[in-house]
Amino acid sequence: MKTQPIDQFAAHLSHEVHTSVRDSSVKRTAQRKDALWKDFEDPNALRRLAGQIKQHTLDHLDTYIEKAESALKANGAQVHFAADAEHAQKLILELLHKRNATRVVKTKSMATEEIHLGPFLEKNGVESFETDLGEFIVQIDNDHPSHIVTPIIHKNRKQIARSFEKFGIPLPNDDPESITKAARIFMRQKYLDADVAITGANFLSAESGKIVLVTNEGNARFCLAGGSMHIALVGIEKVVPKDRDLTVFLNLLARSATGQQLTVYTEFIGGPKGATQPDGPQEMHVIFLDNGRTEVLESDCREILRCIRCGACLNVCPVYRQASGHAYRSVYPGPLGAVLSPALAGSHFAALADLPKASSLCGACNEVCPVDIPIPDLLLRLRNRAKEERLPSPGTPPLGGWALLATRPFVWRMAMLSTQLLNLLPLHHLPLPGLKSWTDRRTLPEWRGGEFRKWMKARKGKSND
């Protein structure tokens, strides 16, 4: 019997990648738990609060986008709106052309990943560098990030050192320290030479128009000290109502992502640089990105737009741990990606409709989610959508016959009683077409269909005597 694509990917995953993904995930999960439970009396109350703030924002998103827009303008930023990836690319290129900009530095941003900005700029003659170390390594390798926080979790130092040498950055050895130092030296000149810095946004306060960026490496700081124009590509769901809400989110984000109390650098950007400040952008543009988000908002998976991209659900997910991020064939991997990627896909839903199946529905993702997204429920809704759209689902046994049986108690009881009928029976969670796939790897317990009912009947008879 055919199995699901993600299962096949996992089966062929190299031992090296599997180990690295697993070790990192286990470690991060433990760090997250430690940080939250040591520091707060009831982290779950905080997660629920954060979820409510985000859901409130989404339920009033039109108002908050407009508020954010006014606040950004008052701060001296120019505001644009992009319908989809292509539109966002075009707007960015126009801004670059207006400034005759040919050199760009970028911070890590899932929104720019979503619109495939790097390759697009390259194709259009703009030199663009990812400045986050992991993303830079992905870039010079023509690879894709496999995790939203630790993008090169699938690579080891040997592979990275080879990529550096191939790219033309010499290394004395493959120590992580040497790799980091070489990147530091290489990137400094790029920051200073850059015309434009392109960033995403972790949050955008509708109240003050402040964009919040968090990094550990300091690359966002450098991008915004070197370049003379700042373009921020911001998903419309990144808005939060008030500055004070950032307290809740910043406290949860760092702990959930890396077990840190606070990310090393938290930057609040409220417009172009101050008049007396020699360094930094004189011009700031904010592009609000839709790219499928309004459609998600209309759907019954709207809660996924609460996501703050911490990666905790990836780290804790037993399926991600076995399959790695690349198994999900999209920008967003793991449980969050299994919902968000197909939900954002619009008319391409069918191509990603298998992603929501890649879950035992264990619920660990919901349990760690800093904004309390009911991920298993959303996975189930997408499974139902796939079924209603009659999309194929390799390896999933059809259950119509089972439903027929389970709504006819007499037939059901007869079936339970006759061991001979075993092969016609829909075992709980284990309908017939899956039987071989089950027995290939596991034994079945002894068939004792109807025994309990007999016992119960006899007992009743006895007590009635």
Binding site: I179, R244, L252
Partner: protein, 207 residues
């Protein structure tokens, strides 16, 4: 805004308005206290400065009690040339001379000449050991960022207790940066390395 952008603006807002208007009920904005995320275990010392110091050192910051301790450190590490905010020159020139040379202009073309940068900070956060920088107090963004060592000069009056307090005090500055320890990465095999793009050493001195 270009035509395409303003049309899109309209389309996005209309679509969002329509979908939110169809919701059977809308989630209210929660009522919550300002100290909802206050982390008591990080605030166990006697006063704000001691709390800050403890958390700052946990985040691998170097806390100098006095200017002479700073000088001792710079000499030990052989950091002989540094950038200094002109407003602070009076204090540091005489204290660090003659072994250590200070410059008050930060040259973009020679950013690696300075081993350290001394700039003013806008405040600190006790709960997290965080230093607050902004455009108003940082005379040059690069001077506080590019050198291997950054020494933040802070007034003890400007210590906020919690992240929430510091957020309330953000004000209008176009660029506020919270720095909690040195720049770092764990991208390669999860191994922690300090000093990626920003300072490899984050130090502070309260004056």
């Amino acid at each position: 805004m270009t035509d395409s952008s303003s049309d899109t603006r309209k389309a996005i807002l209309e679509r969002v308005r329509k979908s939110t208007s169809l919701l059977p009920e809308k989630t209210p904005y929660p009522d919550y206290p300002n100290d909802v995320a206050r982390s008591a275990p990080h605030l166990q010392e006697e006063n704000p400065l001691e709390n800050f110091r403890k958390n700052f050192e946990t985040a691998h910051g170097i806390f100098f009690d006095t200017v002479s301790k700073l000088k001792e450190y710079l000499l030990k590490e052989n950091f002989r040339v540094g950038f200094c905010d002109p407003a602070l020159l009076d204090i540091f020139h005489s204290a660090l001379a003659p072994e250590i040379e200070l410059t008050t202009t930060f040259d973009r073309s020679r950013i690696d000449v300075c081993a350290f940068g001394i700039t003013r900070a806008a405040g600190a956060i006790a709960e997290t050991g965080t230093i607050i920088l902004n455009d108003e107090t940082t005379c040059t963004r690069l001077g506080a960022l590019a050198p291997w060592v950054h020494v933040a000069i802070i007034s003890p009056k400007l210590i906020h207790e919690t992240i929430g307090d510091a957020i309330s005090a953000l004000g209008k500055d176009p660029n506020t940066i919270w720095a909690t320890g040195p720049s770092k990465t764990a991208d390669v095999e999860g191994i922690l390395i300090e000093g990626v793009h920003g300072p490899g050493v984050q130090a502070c001195l309260f004056i």
